[in-house]
Symmetry: C2
Subunit: 394 residues, 2 copies
Amino acid sequence: MTATDGRAATALADAIDTRGAAAFVHVGDRSDATLRYLAGPALPDRPSAFLRTATGKRLLCPPPGAASAARETFDGTVVAAPSLDANTAGERAAAALTARDATGTVLTTASVPHAAALYLERAGYEVASTDALTAARARKTAAELDRLRAVQTAAVAGVEHAEAVLAGAKWESESHADADADAASLVHAGEPLTTAALRREVNAALSRAGVDPAGNTLVAAGPSWRDPALGGDDPVRAGDPVLVDLAPRDAAGYHGRLARTFVVDTDGGWERRAHLAVTRAREAGLAELTPGKPASRVHEETAAEIVAYGFESVGETRTDGTRALGHGVGLARREAPRLSGAGDLEAGHVVALAPTVFDAAEGGGVRVADLAVVTAEGYDLLADYATSLSPTDG
Amino acid sequence: MTATDGRAATALADAIDTRGAAAFVHVGDRSDATLRYLAGPALPDRPSAFLRTATGKRLLCPPPGAASAARETFDGTVVAAPSLDANTAGERAAAALTARDATGTVLTTASVPHAAALYLERAGYEVASTDALTAARARKTAAELDRLRAVQTAAVAGVEHAEAVLAGAKWESESHADADADAASLVHAGEPLTTAALRREVNAALSRAGVDPAGNTLVAAGPSWRDPALGGDDPVRAGDPVLVDLAPRDAAGYHGRLARTFVVDTDGGWERRAHLAVTRAREAGLAELTPGKPASRVHEETAAEIVAYGFESVGETRTDGTRALGHGVGLARREAPRLSGAGDLEAGHVVALAPTVFDAAEGGGVRVADLAVVTAEGYDLLADYATSLSPTDG
């Protein structure tokens, strides 16, 4: 039994019924959030096929995942199917449907591999896609919220560690003070502190907390603020805004999202105003998290607050009109609900809010990001963490 | 320019030419190894479309990845395309081809999303799949080998740390000795040592070494040997074989693979014989790594050596006939060459060899795994690490 099973089953049964379909089929591997949702986390690297018909569900799964899935995370039939790829998974899925005398339409997802869909068509099925799972996945179950709270708590441990390193580096650096202290890197463990070194420290803290950094850890200072996702290795200076932006993943595939920006030795100027703008924007966005409100309102109110403080709202992008200041989070790092499109919020939606300002002339930006669940009454943060600009050590 | 660019370009040009096709199109996201191969690591979570025509290549990429890719990792044209999903990526790719007056066949991969392929078909193209990139990816460039060596060196740091924890736990546990010492867990940092605690320690060491554990770290002792991929949390006892099996990933997406099995306090029985069998099997497999030899010979010689020592060869699976004792490694954790199928080894192939024995009655198994590149003369290990069964601290 997965944390999500009942909800996925209902969504698929409804979609199959509404469309008069014979079955639903999806093919994916361990990295596929949809297949994790349908079949649990114990999946192999190689493609598996999930089938749902009127009589039940089955997973065609190449070893070693088959045994794992059968025992632990899938409550349907598991069939060990050696050496599946997108072609053979589709071929096996088609054969399994034909053996069950299924005819007519087979529903699948937009992301199912083309090769797998072709095998279903060649076997005489009409293939049609459904987005029923997207909406189902957006509404988290209580078991999923427990997982998301746990991974978000681990993200807190990561940001706390970054804060402790930065606070410690302030003291260590003052004992190394030289004539050109403003231009020099902070010092940590006797070495110049860089964004790459701080990223390694944060990732080690996430690992100790039992979650995977998942390649999502952004640490930026100075030039690397221009595109934090590129990584890079810049010196961390006392006056720089330092971004620590984490989206770790647990063993079942659920993601957290927590970002804070710290300045070790702020002169109280631009970055204090920017920090005030994003923290007020965070409050404005959270206040919109209510069932029945348009999801786009969350983005609009967050952006409006940033603009009210005299900054440009840049969201998480810089180059086009879709710059939502947040997104849904779950088995994918970004999933429904979208804050830049149509659709209303529902209880159980989990949303990352990430108000950001960026100014190339100031040499950086300020971002805070938090994860909240929409409740019947409004929202709950999945973990609560202070938004102070100055790093403190515990 | 990516580490792989010239090779991918040649493979695609050959495939397009051979099939008389107008173009090659692929759609994927940051987790898609094929798209990383074609477009570099700076990709967003949302789908991007890669196009290659006679006149050049382009990437249709939703922000924020567009700017990153344009600046750092892609040497073709980058077009910022907001809010792509599998549907819109296919629609945009079709429109871009039509705007270039392309007609006829469009090549793609077996794993391209069905929705994207449908848009190409609706635009009048005949869609055909090619596996040209699979073979190209298997032959690593010098730049790729540099990355693989670096991530494998980080994997060594992870196994070294596990060994140090186990060696330290032996001494710490002896100072805690009680009447039932055989049945008790080892002690680490004042707490009972468990597989979950050791997994967190190893992952922190990988993170400090600058690579991502990528959810691939297996630590097993006792019951968790039955399926190490399931995780679990078992006590680590002095007489247990402890598996530490790592496949971390670097920022560009390249994987390592290193496994060792340790027994803190061996009685010299079953596990010593099993360890001898797998280390001899490792040598037998490595000796087969020569260009022109069948890849399946590597598996066969490795397995034969295990059987010669009186053990059952279980490879990495337990439930079917495809249990290869290794696999290719690169941008995917497992990729070509396959050691269980047809095909010859070529210089530049990177292969993980993972001989394993398992005996439920003995309560565990023994595995060692290493990564080697096939060279003109034979092979080179991407990192060299001792295979001793007793853990030593440095």
